[in-house]
Amino acid sequence: MSAIQESAPRGHIEVRDFALSYETIDGSVEAVTNTHIHVDPGEFVSIVGPSGCGKSTFLNAVAGFLKPTTGSIKVDGEVVTSPSAERGMVFQQYSLFPWKTVRENVEFGLKMRGMPRSQRERAARTLLGLAGLEAFEKHYPEKLSGGMKQRVGIVRALATGPKVLLLDEPFGALDAQTRVIMQQILTNMWQRLKISVLFVTHDIDEAIFLSDRVYCMTARPGSIKAEIPIPLERPRQQAMMMSSEFLALRRGLMSLIREESLKAMGGELNELGMQGLNIELHGHSLADVL
């Protein structure tokens, strides 16, 4: 599978003039506006932004679940109109089929493609082996820990050999230690398969540690505020997160996000009738102290 991808790099995502709004009784509300991004073949790109900025909405549009109001999404030159196995997706909520065993979950995409049973069983076993899950192939998802479930989710999305992998805060529900391990596993798989990845998260460390490039989104309606290349060498080790280079990138991204989070929270606090807290001033003075 990887041999094919090396000879012809695939998975080029190109999003232009993207906007998405939805209708309410008060008129149309913009969730995402004026967004351009691109992901080169084999590149790992993250989108970070404050909660509710529309980054998940954007990813769902790239997956084909939502139609852009304006603009276009193209993968390898073809316009995205509906979900397909070419764009594998991993959801924040563990989305394994509870009625299928781990192996049957991984086999699902291959079954949909009409691959014969014995062949897809073998393929699923191989993939589970790569993720260190071969011992659990006959387990039902309910019996697995959160980290294992998400590993199966990633393996399942990769089983059909998609051009791009979309991940929507996949490690958001995991504890800190498990999250770090999962990041390593994801990096390993990505490097092995040479696939393009678009990763949505609100965790700045995670975005820097994993990505070649990070897009920072504004508060709602979301648009791209900045594009930050991550020149850290690969393979990356956890110790790198203490390096001055990493911390400098982190500080830069932090201040970008903080501005947007405060904007988002400011609106929230107003609505809650808590303007008296003067949170904006606090945020800045705290930042100065740090």
């Binding site: 997956a63 997706m89 299928k100 949909m112 309910e142 820990s145 399942r156 958001g172 529900a173």
Partner: protein
């Protein structure tokens, strides 16, 4: 919009705490084979609660029989009159007589056959109809209002109409049984369809599943737990409806047997008929539960 952002943040943190508390998957038991004594002791420790429940259940049933025996032998009259109520021993005597009587067995077999046909038809019609209604809005919009109007009518109220509708008595009784179980099966199937997690549907779409595959691989298995709830409730209502129909319009059947016993002043047979109905009802629910375990192996722990 803003409050949803707060909620979302909470959602993010709560499962993280849960994930930490999750135990590691069960390890294989130690290889050394224990002696019989330790094995028995372990078995006892693991099953202590179940043993206790069984022991109490036996005692409680025994107490019930003793109270029944005392109330009937002393012919207690205290608001309720136990004067003519048969004693447990009299019922046992008529039971030993009945199991050798081909007519009693025929009553039982006929009732079971009616349940089997009526209930099976209800499942064969109700489950697919519920699935289709859950998936296609137009079908739902057309069928649901009619179903909602007919649903509150108890199956027993259909007895006169059923007799007019169907040429034979047997068919009208089966029809009543069908009606009784049909609506719980339909409504629960529909409920199951409405609760299917949309993320699972999206996950299937991302893996290349088309409309039919999503129906077969996601909607149907996801609804199975509710379908089986509907089947269990439907089976209970099927018995209620059957017994009422047999008492009113029947010839034969365990409901008719019970009613006939009253007319013929065979008091022990009244209790025998009641107990037979209870046992048959319990047995059929157990059958459905067993089928549920077979069909949904992921739910049995």
């Amino acid at each position: 919009m803003s409050s949803s952002a707060i909620l979302r943040h909470q959602e993010d943190t709560v499962p993280a705490a849960a994930a930490v508390a999750e135990p590691a998957p069960a390890l294989a038991p130690p290889a050394k084979s224990p002696s019989f004594g330790t094995f028995a002791l372990r078995w006892y420790r693991l099953n202590r609660d179940r043993l206790r429940a069984t022991a109490i259940a036996v005692l409680s049933l025994a107490a019930f029989l003793i109270v029944w025996h005392l109330l009937t032998t002393y012919r207690v009259v205290f608001f309720v009159r136990f004067t003519n109520v048969p004693s447990p021993l009299a019922v046992y005597a008529s039971f030993t007589k009945a199991i050798h009587d081909p007519r009693f067995l025929m009553h039982v077999i006929l009732s079971c056959r009616r349940i089997f046909i009526g209930f099976s038809l209800a499942a064969i019609v109700g489950v697919p109809l519920g699935l289709i209604m859950g998936r296609f809005r137009l079908v739902h919009e057309v069928v649901f209002p009619v179903a909602e109007v007919l649903r509150p009518i108890p199956a027993i109220a259909w007895v006169p109409m059923a007799i007019m509708l169907w040429p034979t008595n047997e068919q009208s009784i089966v029809f009543i049984t069908f009606l009784g179980s049909f609506f719980p099966i339909l409504i629960n199937t529909l409920h199951g369809m409405s609760l299917v997690d949309p993320v699972l549907v999206r996950a299937a779409q991302c893996l290349g599943a088309g409309e039919r595959a999503i129906f077969r691989e996601v909607y149907f298995p996801a609804s199975l737990p509710h379908i089986f709830t509907g089947l269990t409730i439907g089976m209970g209502v099927a018995w209620v409806s059957l017994i009422a129909a047999e008492m009113i319009s029947g010839q034969y059947g365990i409901g008719y047997f019970t009613w006939e016993a009253y007319s013929l002043v065979q008091y022990p047979d009244i209790a025998l008929g009641m107990i037979a109905i209870g046992v048959l009802g319990l047995g059929s629910s157990l059958l459905i539960r067993g089928a549920g375990h077979l069909v949904m192996p992921w739910r049995s722990t």
